[in-house]
């Protein structure tokens, strides 16, 4: 049986961008923050009928220097460990109230927001539990590849070889020694209806993926590549550019897993070499030619695997 890859949802186009802003200005993110930018776009895609549960991290801290907040929609800050559990609770409570007739609006989208540390490390188990129980929410993971709010410590999503303050450069250490955890793949293994990757350099794609996530029944997980000028040691004006290069070099492939089937956005036949990606960031400036080759091989293999999944899904053309 073929799954429906053409999810029913109302698409946003460049001609008809929503005016809605879920975040007011005055937030305290670093200039050029790719994470706050991606958040802004994602919420623009969802619209005002949205409730957000937010794990600790840069987004929480810069958006809500108490008693101020940038949020214009209902928002709740919770601990790392239980963000998905709280999201589950909000969803279950609303379902109960709807059943009892005490709520009538069934279209509210519940969103859980976490960083890479909050998602792939500390909040991992409550997220996995919530996906297994099938709660109807969207999880947005903003991956800036380290614990940025506390000053650039490594997470399991930090890429191999990258500098962080806890994998420093020196005679005994030359960046992270372990590979990046492949979070979207683990999320897809939960057999949830919708998993996708996105970047703020592709805003329409990002907004529409988030809207698809809202349209499916059951959990959706969207992994968002979130450039961080401060932690990646690059100029503030480069967040968009670095995300474009990440996609063009296959460092960060854009794909969706819709009811288990892979839809992969294919780059041109000649992707950029990964060195183009590394050279823009201070956190990789120590890489040796051998390191770059190691990553190039890994990136090539990952792309091959993704494309073979997409072929198994028997449709690489039918991209919605």
């Amino acid at each position: 049986m073929k799954a429906d890859k053409h999810l029913e949802f109302e698409k946003i186009t460049a001609k008809a961008l929503p005016e809605f802003e879920a975040l007011s200005p005055g937030h305290r993110a670093c200039p050029g923050c790719g994470e706050m930018l991606a958040l802004r776009q994602a919420l623009k895609g969802l619209g005002p009928n949205t409730i957000v549960v937010n794990a600790t991290g840069c987004i929480e801290v810069v958006s809500t220097p108490f008693p101020q907040t940038a949020w214009n929609i209902p928002w709740m800050h919770v601990a790392f460990e239980n963000a998905s559990a709280v999201g589950s609770g909000v969803e279950a409570a609303r379902r109960a109230l709807l059943r009892k007739g005490r709520l009538t609006d069934a279209d509210t989208t519940i969103v859980v927001v976490g960083g890479d540390g909050g998602t792939s490390d500390i909040g991992f188990q409550s997220l996995s539990g919530a996906l297994e129980r099938g709660h109807n929410f969207i999880y947005l993971c903003f991956d800036n590849e380290a614990y940025m709010n506390t000053g650039v410590q490594r997470s399991s999503a930090t890429p191999e070889f990258a500098w962080t303050t806890t994998c420093p450069l020196g005679s005994a250490s030359s960046g992270k020694t372990h590979k990046k955890k492949d979070l979207p793949r683990i999320m897809a293994a939960h057999d949830i209806p919708y998993v996708a990757t996105a970047t703020p350099a592709h805003p329409l794609d990002l907004m529409n993926k988030v809207r698809k996530g809202a349209a499916v029944k059951g959990p959706a997980f969207i992994h968002i590549f979130s450039p961080c000028p401060t932690g990646w040691r690059m100029p503030a004006e480069r967040s968009i550019e670095i995300a474009k290069v990440a996609v063009k070099s296959n460092i960060y492939p854009l794909y969706e897993v819709i009811h288990g089937e892979y839809v992969v956005k294919r780059n041109s036949k000649n992707p950029l070499p990964v060195s183009e990606y590394f050279k823009l960031q201070g956190r990789f400036k120590h890489l040796t030619a051998q390191d770059v080759r190691t990553i190039q091989d890994r990136v090539d293999a990952t792309m091959d695997r993704l494309l073979s999944y997409a072929r198994l899904s028997d449709d690489t053309k039918g991209r919605p």
Partner: protein, 299 residues
């Protein structure tokens, strides 16, 4: 006891400077404390740090409201923050300032002692980076004679390792370059700050006080961060929109992390100077090159 308040921007090393001076003072057998004013502000945001140095034990723990000395790492702050606030009569202002802007500081000289130095240039010459914090310590020492230059060798070594020597050179150059202007003393102690209006710059209205909070710490007013004007964070420049080249594609607006781009009454794209942090992303990404980053007219 001498009380010193540092003013800088997030990322410029004001807190580090205060800590280095405290460490050097302690190494000389004095008592000292250094601490930042906390907040989630990030790169470019105006921040302050506090330093007390004394021959006897210090029991005070609060922020410094009436300093003997202020150290201003970034001259552009003068128009954004009331850096002179509470500075004691005849107190010293140690300012990072390029020579051609020194004249603009002279009104302050009526009431205060001015110690000026081009610390950014000293840092460029010696470290190769515009990190002026250690140079500003040199100017502070010249102005106040508080601690010996040599007492910084150790703290710099601990903090910067192989970059310690360059920082020491930067500090030394600023020590020699700094110029002291004693207060002309003619004017009474009304500060020019009273003529500048800062109220509309940092906050549109007063920030909410904790006593007026709802039970449970709920924030009942959506989006009230808009009262906090992050436009003060711009360090290098502002975006200038060239409407003749603009095709109104709207991309710049989608790429602004602050939502600081809008369309004016004539439907032209334009930036919001209250909030734009000057990241430069809109200029870099505009497909038509219709935005350029241009220098602010500070000071």
């Amino acid at each position: 006891m001498i009380e010193i308040r540092f003013h800088g921007r997030g990322g410029q090393g004001s807190v580090t400077a205060a800590e280095l001076v405290a460490q050097a003072a302690i190494n000389e057998g004095k008592y000292a404390q250094a601490f930042p004013s906390f907040g989630p502000e990030r790169r470019g945001a105006p921040v302050s740090a506090f330093l007390r140095v004394s021959d006897s034990q210090i029991f005070l723990r609060e922020k410094i409201e009436a300093p003997d000395v202020i150290v201003v790492l970034d001259a552009s702050l003068i128009e954004l923050v009331d850096v002179f606030s509470g500075l004691k009569a005849g107190g010293s202002a140690v300012m990072n300032c390029p020579p051609h802007k020194r004249k603009s500081l002279m009104p302050w000289n009526e009431s205060y002692r001015l110690v000026t130095v081009d610390a950014t240039q000293a840092a460029m010459n010696n470290i190769g980076l515009p990190i002026a914090n250690t140079a500003m310590i040199g100017a502070l020492l010249k102005g106040m004679g508080l601690i010996k230059l040599d007492s910084f060798q150790m703290p710099l070594q601990t903090r910067f390792g192989r970059l310690a020597e360059k920082n020491f050179q930067s500090m030394t150059q600023a020590f020699h370059d700094a110029q002291i202007a004693e207060p002309s003393g003619e004017a009474p102690l009304s500060s020019p700050a009273q003529e500048l209006d800062f109220s509309g710059i940092i906050e549109k209205e007063a920030l909410m006080a904790w006593k007026s909070l709802a039970l449970g710490g709920d924030i009942l007013e959506p989006g009230n961060s808009a009262r906090f004007l992050t436009g003060t964070w711009r360090m290098t420049g502002k975006p200038v929109f060239h409407s003749d080249a603009c095709t109104k594609c709207g991309l710049c607006r989608l790429f602004c992390p602050e939502d600081a781009i809008f369309r004016d009454a004539d439907e032209q794209f334009i930036y919001n100077e209250d909030y734009c942090k000057g990241c430069g992303q809109c200029a870099r990404e505009c497909p038509k090159g219709a935005i350029t980053m241009e220098e602010e007219a500070w000071v």
